[in-house]
Symmetry: C2
Subunit: 449 residues, 2 copies
Amino acid sequence: MKFTISNELIEKVEQLVQSKNDEAILDLLNEYHHADIAEILEDLNTEQASYIIKLLDSEKTSEILMEMDEGDREKILATLSTKEIAEEIEELDTDDAADMIAELSEERQIEVIAQIEDEEHKAEIRELLTYDEDTAGGLMAKELVRVNENWTVTECVREMRAQAENVTRVHSIYVVDGNEKLIGRLSLKDLLMASPRAHISTVYIPKVDFVDVNEDAEEVARIMQKYDLEAIPVVDENKVLLGRITIDDIVDVIKEEAEKDYQMAAGITQDVEADDSILQLTRARLPWLFLGLVGGIGAFLIMEGFKGTFEKYAVLFFFTPLIAAMAGNVGVQSSAIIVQGLANDDVKGSINKRLIKEMFLAALNGFILALFLFAFVWITKGSFLTALAISVSLVAVIIIAGLIGTFVPLFLDKKGIDPAIATGPFITTSNDIFGILIYFWIAKLILGI
Amino acid sequence: MKFTISNELIEKVEQLVQSKNDEAILDLLNEYHHADIAEILEDLNTEQASYIIKLLDSEKTSEILMEMDEGDREKILATLSTKEIAEEIEELDTDDAADMIAELSEERQIEVIAQIEDEEHKAEIRELLTYDEDTAGGLMAKELVRVNENWTVTECVREMRAQAENVTRVHSIYVVDGNEKLIGRLSLKDLLMASPRAHISTVYIPKVDFVDVNEDAEEVARIMQKYDLEAIPVVDENKVLLGRITIDDIVDVIKEEAEKDYQMAAGITQDVEADDSILQLTRARLPWLFLGLVGGIGAFLIMEGFKGTFEKYAVLFFFTPLIAAMAGNVGVQSSAIIVQGLANDDVKGSINKRLIKEMFLAALNGFILALFLFAFVWITKGSFLTALAISVSLVAVIIIAGLIGTFVPLFLDKKGIDPAIATGPFITTSNDIFGILIYFWIAKLILGI
């Protein structure tokens, strides 16, 4: 069951491609699942991978290509003629076909579509290309089993056998009226258990979940998860059945969403992978680092501003990394909890209540930590007042960092901005500056300078 | 289609519960999906929610309870008698039933199981409770449709009608031999299209994916995603068919895994939510903050060690928050990319190659940032040497921070430890200390102090 790629396997494939031993390549790869072959091809260079794609049957290669990383797929598609790409497209379900075409240049898109022979497939792909990729329309496939409410079960089964040949997985059978409007559904199980002479109108289930073709992809994911759906029909504003979305596409949406949030929290703006080029990675990472640099210069200016005040208390300056680190950590913690809660639709109620709760939470954490810090400074430095100044500041900084971390994502969410941008470097940097400012200000007050 | 909870709705339900207007409650809630009712109950207090659970039919309430947050569910279960819980359990599929029972105290578990009337259901739940929750056994349900290779299609359909009553969703029909060993599968579509007199042994597909009952849950998720499976059979070491796992359970595994990694990156150790108590949140957050405190004290000691330098070059000290922030940010970025790559099984090849790549990447980013910093310091401070010292240190710190961020998760992964712990506060804190140390050391060298 388990497939693990090995260096030996890759070397063997490379050798076979080198010696153009087509028969041996076909024999070897025949054993593997298309998802496994995709992994193998990702480890070859483009020329070798392209050789194999051209060698294998397009029924298999279309699936292999869809399993590959977008970047690797693009490179291989660039080596294929538009005719060859059209052949791959013919084999794919409409949703995958539209996704693959969308990755091509506009010019090549037109050429490829022109060369698709199946007219219905062509028209369906053209339709799908008109929808935004982050909507239900961008996720759906046109392949589905639809039956008319006026048919009998026997007619329905006959009709379905014809339709089912084009549909890889039959989840639900959608029931439409004479105007192609979605009116209900039928499971294969129901059909299996119904009398053959019964009319569909007497056995179908009128309660059916559906989404509008313009619905946001993330909202579709939320609905399908909440109601445990494995497929959902997509309709237009007149409830005419347009297509269906299956759970495997939603798994991808969920994963991408989670990865995007994770990367934002880590200060990476674009969707990058460990294997991307140094330039791509730099583009994704440098803007956040630059933000950090500006923040650091801000911190420098603040400290310089307090230089005169603290000639006598150099020790205060030595605690700024501690203060900045604590402010950053607390801010990231509170914002992460809020961002995650918002993503799961768990955060309800007023902002004020959240802020009060966070204040108590931060105060409790801050107090415990400040006790340790107080003991450390008092024992090592022997000055009660210095220890007090540093510890009291720490509590204040932690409370304010927690409040900022809670408030900013809630505020962004209210304004319709993705709250995830408020995590990571953004919150760390602003908390660094606020933290250091508050720290020196309180210290000054307590030490009476 | 869309359900949004409103304050009016909650108040209405509260009023109806207050006045014990059972009929109106039933009328009102009857309209809603069980997942929606779960959301409503989460917004009531335990007493009110429990009143509704006791009022509604257990066929519906069992589903409602399974949709609720674990914490809210636990509170309601605490108000129910073991007899009432057993009634809920009778309605649930074996996997959900086992999950719900596992949340009870050991004593109550025994009482509840004893009161389950359906002997087969009872035995199956007992079996499921023996598996670790993070394995295939912990995820699987016993409900599935299994047919014998020696049956005809007609016999099979008859037998399936009986079995299917207990199975909510028929994904695949599993084919077993005389010893209950899994030998293949059959889709409903295949069955629909086969001749009624054909023997199963002539129509089934011998190629079937399966997982071992002790397989890790995350590995099951990876397999199901990679091969786009909607259900996978689970077998024991003799390939005897034990149960099946469906994609909706896997969606939960994927989400939980992503949330765990996200929380680790934000310095939150336990699975907490925004609505958890202040004490729970403190337990999850304080350990990481304490780590930050210790790191901060480390930074203090280093700076104090360079105190002599401070007298002459106080400006160096004012840049420590900048250096620490940059070291932290770079470390988090590189570790996040590696952790995500490891989770997606994208990171292959030698550690050395990764480290060399990260070195170039960090050097490029560091160089660009250092140019700005150099210009800033030179212009505002007028000292070429100071500007040089700070900028060169910045490049060195960024490179080393990047290397640590890359190396630590790869190293942990090799040792079989979850690399996600290497993100967030762990990497920020260690990079703070290393960063500051390297900074002063290089600055001292260049300034010749």
